[in-house]
Symmetry: C2
Subunit: 224 residues, 2 copies
DNA sequence: ATTAAAAAGTTACCATGGTCACACATCAGG
DNA sequence: CCTGATGTGTGACCATGGTAACTTTTTAAT
């Protein structure tokens, strides 16, 4: 991807939609930026690492994860092309990544220097408003996550997940978006615990499932 | 507090520090705003309630809490005078309060209409940057909370809390900032469970405590 | 000083879910 | 086709922490 291709991609992005070709070129000539590729499973940013750039995902999928010292993983959210990472760290009073950012596939990322972001904000209201929206939406992702996992049993997490996916996929038969291992990490639990609870739920007549799908039979069935 | 007093208070706030007296007066004449008082324990915003205003705390303390249907409480954070609430909801793609906002004492809040916030952003760069900082800092509060409670035993939560407070209070003897009940809610656990674990930790020689203080003896003592 | 209401401590009971170990299954690369 | 890696199912064991019921202490109000 050469410079002009990059400009074309950017101009089609909502954040940059209000920029003229020349204005954008000018900013990109005046500031540091870098397009980098990351392989699957490569760490893009370590927890506690200092944030110096805002990252725009050009292609691929990226996971934001909370790891504890025992190696347990809690996946907070998955981001993909068009999404922006680290914007909040540029404006906040602390700028260490609070979580690990990990490539989930081959990923292309455009790293944009802090200075450039500040200048882009100065230059263009659409960019600034868009960035505020992006940062604000991050707070909602985090509150959603807290809602989804805090003070819940595994069964409740699964039921909430199934309700959500069933609405999205418009079906009682839910194709798993990823492996069961990933699903366990999304809940921040052991894989074997997920397996066990799914089994129990099948015995209780709530669901049926196989390797790739879960079918809702009766999530509100009483078993007390 | 009359109108002029309010203007004086606002002008001393960092968000408004760059406004002239006249400019601020003009905006406040043109838009809806309301100063309200809330009693201790009064709900300021219910979970899922639609957000129409940004709230500036003029005095008192406010808790943001996550309540589940069984009535368990997880306190996310406490805010006080000068802090801003709801700013992220004004710019995000969803505008329902994800958590309950509760007065912890007698509270005075200035509710500022969405329109006014947008206009203030247009008018004044300091205001807009300040708002971005406020929203960005909210994401850090949330990630900190996830770090503090997810995949942790009660003992680990307590130890982390003690390390943190010991650094803040510069002492091994930690004055509890609130009741043990509040502390339990901060961890999202039962009060009796906190009590039990503190007792165990005392038996294990990690700490000593009474009603108002906890004294660190040796947090790294091994008990396995 | 009296008393009602919070807060705090205590304990037995037991459900949830983490740990570990092992058996299969699936899949990609040589 | 084989093979090693990765995902998945299962079960025994047991620590953690929720529940509930009670007592004791502290606080605040009259």
């Amino acid at each position: 991807m050469n410079h002009q291709d990059l400009m074309t991609v950017l101009l089609s992005h909502s954040l940059f939609s209000d920029f003229s070709d020349e204005a954008l070129n000018q900013v990109f000539r005046a500031h540091y930026y870098e397009k980098r590729e990351y392989e699957k499973d490569q760490v893009i940013h370590f927890q506690n690492e200092c944030c110096r750039t805002m990252d725009l995902i050009l292609s691929g999928r990226v996971a934001v994860q909370n790891l504890d010292r025992e190696g347990n993983v809690l996946t907070i959210s998955i981001f993909q092309d068009g999404d922006v990472l680290g914007a909040n760290l540029i404006f906040s009073s602390r700028n260490n990544y609070p979580m690990t950012v990990l490539a989930q596939s081959l990923v292309e990322i455009l790293h944009l220097d802090q200075e450039m972001i500040l200048e882009l904000c100065q230059m263009n209201r659409t960019f600034m408003i868009g960035l505020m929206k992006a940062i604000s939406d991050k707070t909602l992702i985090l509150t959603d996550k807290i809602n989804a996992i805090s003070m819940k049993t595994i069964r409740q997490c699964i039921i909430d997940f199934l309700h959500y996916e069933s609405r999205i996929q418009k079906s009682q038969r839910i194709r798993l978006p990823s492996s069961k291992k990933d699903l366990a990490q999304r809940f921040g639990i052991q894989r074997s615990s997920l397996s066990r609870e799914l089994n129990k739920m099948r015995q209780d007549g709530l669901i049926d499932y196989d390797a790739k799908t879960i079918t809702i039979k009766d999530l509100d069935a009483r078993t007390d």
